[in-house]
Point group: C2
Chain length 309, copies 2
């Protein structure tokens, strides 16, 4: 599981940072990629990575500002043109369907794969046996969602040493025991996998927020997350401007990370007013409050390691 | 007057060529830029040039395929965000209004300048005292327009030597004579500017075609043009494929240029199947038929010099 930042700027494209898009790479977990937001030229950014558009399984749109959605029609079309045939599901606020449908229909784009568009509300918007995705509304003037992606816990490690000592040799039976099932042995005794399993291995939690002022729902979505991706459009000291434009500062993001008790904070959605020479200062402002902070850059890639227990 | 090629590829963005956009720089002529087509990331390409989005006065859209329009919403929004206040007029096939209006409305983009959208038919779509823009439908499966931009002729050079010899000294009177007007001199004699003017200086003609198979309207729009920008999606020998996909080959473009009697041909809209090493071959195929041929590249700039007479 990795985060691959495709666009980390705010509002308009700039040479150093493109507009918003972030890929959650789930290649080991499900041979798929989930995209969060899709600003203009996201498909261009992808050309400079190893990401295959055909692997994109889901796209989550936080809000409908142009810098978060104008890359959708092109990416959707190119994914088909390049031979993508598997289903693509797009989740976003009410209005996303109109934008996509009108864009594809005026351009007479015909897709070779099934496209599903889901206009979301707060709550659980997706779950299967691996992941759960929950959303809540943030504070951005227009509906802007945050996403909390929870990986389900996995059964702990099977204690094969103790099983062998009990005279149960490795075989298909181990698979059942590993799932916590009970199994009857040849000589009649029944053993339960639960007695030989270590504690559940906790799934990872990734919180990716759309544009927002600091708010209670941001805090709740980030609760004890392994990684929190929070916008930091402005530097510390610009809190008035942040309020006016419905954004956050570096220190506001750090305070959310600290209060929510996350493991790591990634500052994202950085205004182009800050030049390369300013970036160190931005991350230091946050680290004064929450030490384990990184600043995202276009094409930065961050691994989220599985838990050991 | 210059042509600045912003995107010269076909169908999908590639590292070497972005999707379609071409700027006709009319800075000396009217302190303005006219854009022809606006594929995704046109505003990103502009970041690498000296072109100021606020100077873009008109955008002409040849047809509604995604690689020619998906950059419009972003460019329109950024032009406002960057402080553009002068009117912008967009000309394009029926459907362009829906695409722009839905894109701007779902993203709640409010513009600080007047935006006019004109859905065009064949014929004269714009004229003022400097320029005339005429369109005709090409052959591309969906409505695809070609544009013929005609600069109006200007009055010839005033023969000041002969005027002085006649005892008429330079002064405000020369301005009237230059316009071909008649003027009464102090001693009563009337002189006509027409008697002292050289022949009209011919305006330039630039023909910019949307995607098309070779066709009669392409020929007509290109008649005696100074510059013809013609698509050449495929290499010579791929005429069957060109027919199937409603495109042209290098030699088909060259034949149109030759028959139309243009001064210069620029091959544009080059498929990404052709790599840098193939480009020389493409231009040579056309030059065998029409010697004064160039191949466009992203960011290539070509001057169209004024006529001397
Ligand atoms: Zn926003
Ligand atoms: Zn086309």
């Amino acid at each position: 599981m990795e985060l691959l930042f495709l666009g980390t700027g705010a509002g308009m494209p700039a040479k150093q940072r493109n507009v918003s898009s972030l890929a959650l790479m789930l290649l080991q977990e499900r041979n798929a990629v989930w995209l969060f937001d899709c600003g203009e030229a996201t498909q261009h950014q992808i050309l400079h990575t190893s990401l295959k558009p055909g692997k994109i399984e889901k796209i989550f749109i936080s809000h409908l500002h142009g810098d978060h959605i104008y890359g959708l029609p092109g990416l959707i079309g190119s994914r088909s043109f390049q031979g993508g045939t598997t289903e693509l599901t797009i989740y976003g606020p009410k209005g996303i369907r109109d934008f996509i449908e009108v864009s594809l229909s005026v351009s007479q784009t015909r897709l070779r794969y099934p496209l599903t568009i889901i206009e979301i509300e707060e709550g659980c918007i997706f779950e299967d046996d691996q992941f759960l995705v929950e959303t809540a509304l943030l504070d951005h003037g227009i509906p802007s969602f945050g996403f909390r992606i929870t990986e389900r816990d996995r059964p702990g490690t099977l204690d094969s040493g103790r099983l062998k000592a009990k005279g149960i040799p490795p075989g298909p039976i181990y698979k059942k025991l590993k799932m916590g099932e009970s199994v009857q042995l040849d000589h009649g005794e029944t053993v339960s996998g639960l007695d030989f399993l270590g504690p559940d291995i906790k799934g990872r939690i990734i919180t990716i927020l759309g544009d927002t002022r600091p708010c209670a729902n941001a805090l709740q979505l980030a609760e004890k997350a392994d990684v929190l991706v929070h916008e930091a459009t402005f530097a510390a000291g610009n809190e008035e401007m942040a309020v006016e434009y419905f954004h956050s500062t570096t220190t506001q993001a750090a305070n959310i990370a600290k209060e929510a008790g996350v493991q790591e904070l990634i500052l994202n959605h950085i205004s182009s007013r800050y030049l390369k020479a300013d970036w160190d200062q931005l991350v230091h402002e946050a680290r004064n409050i929450f030490p384990n902070t990184q600043l995202s850059n276009d094409f930065s890639q961050m691994t989220i390691a599985p838990h050991k227990s």
